[in-house]
C-alpha cells in the first residue's frame, strides 16, 4: 500500500476536520432556533469523518476512532423511538414534546426541549448510516482487496 506523500493534505485535514466537527455540533444544537438540526449536523459530522478517512486511510482511523457505525445507527434509532415512548410516562401521546427554561451552571438561562433528544437520535442515525454506506462501498474488497481505503 503505497501512499503518496501528501503532507499538505494531512496538515490541513487536522485543522479542517475539527472545524467541520465543531461546525456540525453547532448546527446540531442551533437547530431549534436557527438553520441546522440533527440531519444536517449528522451529515456534516459524517463529512468530517470521511475527510479523515480519505486522508489517513481506513486502518489508521479505525484505530483512532474504534466506533462501530452500525451500532451507532441502531443507538440513534433507539433514542429516537424511546424519546417518543417517553411521552407515555407523562400520559401524553406518542412523540409529544415539551420544553422549559433552566438555569444551568455555565450557560445561564437555557432552553431545554425534549425534541432535542429526538434530534440526537436523528443525528446519530445519520452519522451511522452515512458512514456505514460509504465505508462498505469504499472498502469493498471483493475484487481488489484494499485497493484504496480512501476515496
Amino acid at each position: 500500500m503505497n501512499r503518496p506523500n501528501d503532507l499538505i493534505l494531512r496538515t490541513t485535514t487536522q485543522l479542517i476536520a475539527f472545524i467541520l466537527l465543531g461546525f456540525s455540533v453547532y448546527l446540531f444544537f442551533a437547530g431549534h432556533n436557527a438553520p441546522g438540526g440533527g440531519f444536517i449536523g449528522g451529515l456534516m459530522t459524517a463529512a468530517a469523518f470521511i475527510l479523515m478517512y480519505m486522508t489517513y486511510g481506513f486502518e489508521k482511523i479505525e484505530k483512532i476512532l474504534p466506533l462501530n457505525f452500525r451500532i451507532l445507527a441502531v443507538t440513534g434509532l433507539l433514542i429516537a423511538v424511546l424519546s417518543g415512548v417517553g411521552s407515555f410516562v407523562f400520559g401524553e401521546e406518542f412523540l409529544s414534546h415539551s420544553f422549559g427554561y433552566f438555569h444551568l451552571p455555565i450557560l445561564g438561562k437555557t432552553e431545554l426541549a425534549t425534541a432535542m433528544i429526538f434530534d440526537l437520535g436523528v443525528y446519530l442515525v445519520v452519522v451511522g448510516i452515512t458512514l456505514t454506506i460509504i465505508l462498505s462501498i469504499a472498502t469493498d474488497s471483493h475484487e481488489d482487496p484494499y485497493e484504496d481505503a480512501g476515496v
Partner: protein
Amino acid sequence: MVFAVFAPLIFAIIIPFISRFKRKIHTGWLILPVPLLIFIYFLQFVGRDFSTIMQSTNWIPSLDISLDFYLDGLSLLFALLISGIGTLVVLYSIYYLNKEEQLGHFYTYLYIFMSSMLGVVLSDNVFVLYTFWEFTSLSSFLLIGYWHYREKSRYGALKSMLITVFGGFSLLGGIILLTIVTGTTSIQEMVSKSDLIINSEYFLFILVFLLLGAFTKSAQFPFHIWLPDAMEAPTPVSAYLHSATMVKAGIYLMARFSPIFSEVPLFFVLLSIFGLVTLTWASYMAVRQTDLKGILAFSTISQLGMIMAMLGFGTTYGVFAAVFHILNHATFKGSLFMIAGIVDHETGSRDIRKLGGLMTFMPISATLAVFGTFSMAGVPLPFLNGFYSKEKFFESSLHLEGSGTFVEGLITAAPIIAVVGSIFTFVYSMYLFFGTFRGEYQESELPKKPHEAPIMMLVPPAILVLGVILIGLFPNFFNHVLISHSADAVYGDSVTKKIKFWHGWDSRAFQMSLVVISLGVLLYLTKSKWDSIYSFLPGPLSFNRVYDWIVEKVESVSNRITTFYMTGSLRLYMVLILTTIIIITASTLVFTGGMNFDVNDLAPITTAEIIIATIMALGAIGTTIAKNRIAAILILGVVGYGLSILFVMYSAPDLALTQLIVETVTVVLFLLCFYHLPNLESGTKSFTKTGTNLLISTGYGLLMMLIGISAYNSRFAETISTYFMENTYKLGGGHNAVNVILVDFRGIDTLFEIAVLFGAALGIYTMIKLRQDKGAK
C-alpha cells in the same frame, strides 16, 4: 332428511381410516349399509297419500342462505334413484375393483358425490343447490381421473371439469339474477313469484344462464362431448354418475324450474329443440362407436336429449313421459353399464369388433343384457319398461300445443325427428346386444378366456333388470305411488295419466313404434353396407375438434399475449408504465377540466433565477448526452447544486444546507459505484427506440409541468403554514419552524425517515459484505 343428505359425506371422512383393513375385508362391504339405509329412509315416503315436506337448518342467515331441504315427488324420485342405484353400484364395485386398488380414494370420492347429488335434488335454497352442484362436478372430476396414471383419464377428467364448471358458473350467474329479481333464495318462493321473473329485464340472461348450466351438466348438444370421454372412469362410476344420476342433474334443474317458466314459450321451445337435436345426433353417433361404453355414452346422451325434449313439450303428456323415462332410463342404462363392465372384466376387451359369441360363455349376463337393450330400443313387449316411455314419448310429440309459425313448424317436425332418433336408438341397441353376445367367437382377439362373472357381481344388474321387468308388468302401481306425484311437482298441477300397454292398432304412437322397429331391423341387417357412411359423415362436424381447438387456442393465444409484453426488458416495462401514467393522467386532466393557467398570482422573476435555471437546464441536457458515466454524474451535480442555490434564494436555509451536503454525498457515492462499471454504450441506437424514449420523456415532463402549474393555480383551502408560523415558538419552543415541524409537530415522519435510511444502510451493508463469492455459486 338433513342427516340423510350428509350421512355419505360424514362417512367419506371415515372411509380412509376403515380402508386400512382392506387386507381382511373389502372396504365396500363396510360402507354398503349407508346408501341402503338412506334408500329405506326415502322409501317410507312413497305412497298414494304423498305430501311435501320442508326442513330448514340455519347456515348463513345474514345472506338468507339456509340448508332448506324440500321433499316433493320429483325430489323423492331422484333421491330414491340416487340411493338405490348407489347401493347397487357400491355392491358391484366390491367385485369390480380388487383390493390392490386405492379403495379409500374411490369410496371417498363416490360418497362425496352421493352426498352432493342428494343435496342437489333436495335443496330448496338456490345457493345450497349450487354448492352441491359444484361438488358433483368436483367429485365427478376425481372419479373420472381415478386411474390417474392413464393419460386418457386425465384428459377426460379435465374436459368434463372444464365443461361442467363452465356451466356451473353460468348457473351461478342465473341464480344470482333470480335472487336479485325475486328477493328470495328459495325455489318454491321463486315459483310463486314467477311473474316478477318473467317480466324482469334480466329475464333473457336468467334463461340463458340456467339453460347453459343444465345443458352442460346433462350433456346436451353441443356440450355433450365430455360424456364419451368420461368413460375412462371405472365402470361403476360410469354406471352411477354418467347414466343414472349426475347427468340427470341438468334435467332435474329444468324440471324444477319449469313451473317458473310455464308461461314462457321460449323456454319450452329451446328445451325441446336442443333435446330433439341431441336425441338424433347422439343416437346417430352411437351407431358408429366400436367401444361398448362409447355406445352407452352416446346412448345416454341421446336418451337425456329425449327426456329434455319431453320436458320441453311442456304438456301433461310430455311431463309425465319425461318423469317416467327418468326412472326407466336409470334402471336399464345402469344395468347395461354394469354388464358392459362385466364383459370388459371377463374378456379383457370392450371393443365390440373383437367381441362376439359370448352367449355360450356368459349366459346370465347375456340374458340380463337382452332386457336392458330391448327395453332401451323400445321393443313392444309388456315386461319392458322402455317401451312404455317410448310410447309416451311418441304420444307427447303428437300432442304439442302452441301457436306461431316457429312452434307450428316444431309441432310438425317433432314426431318425425322422434321417429328418426328412435330408429337409430333401435339400431345401436341391437348392435350392442347382437354384436357382443351373438355372432362368431374370436378367440385370438381376446386377451382372456371369457367365463361367467361371479354371482355377486351379477346381482346388481339383475336387480336393475328386475326393476325393468316389474315396472313393465305393473306400470300403474309405480305410477300411483311415485311417478304421478313426481309429474305433479314438475307440471305444477295435477297430472293423471294411465299407463296402458295396448292402445290398439289405430293408435298413432303404436304405428310409429312399428315404423321404428321395421326400419330399425332393416337398417341393422344391412348395417355393414352403411358403415362407410357412418364413418364418413360426422368426421369434420365433430365437436371434439372444436373443444380441442378452443383449449389449444386459449393456451397458445394467452401464451403469446404474455410473451408479447412480458419480455423481461426493463425498458419496455418503463415504457408501458410511463405511457399508462401519461394517458390516464392526461385524459383525467383534460376531461375533468383540471387545467388552469392563471398567471395573476405569480411572483416577479429575477435575473438571478433565470441564470440559475438556465445553468440547471444545461446541466440536465448535458447529462443525457454525456458519453461517459463519470462525466454524466458530475454534470448531474450541477443540477443539484443549482437547486440548493435556488433554495437559498427562496429562503430555505435548512433545505439548502441539506441539499448541498446530500448532493455531495450522492455524487461521491455514484462515483464510488460507477467507477467499476463499463462505459456507456457508444454504438448507435435504433432510431425508433430513441424516438419513443424522447417522445415519452418529453410527454411525461410536459405532463408534470402542466400538473404543477394547474395545481399551483387551483388552491381550494387555506394553507396550514400560518398555523405553524404562529405556533412554532408558542408550542414548540423554537424559532426554526422547519426544524420544529420536523422533530415536534410531525416527528413521526422523521422517525420513519431515519428508519428508512437505516434500512437502506443495512441493505447496502449486507449486499456488499455478505455477498456470495462467484466461485461459490
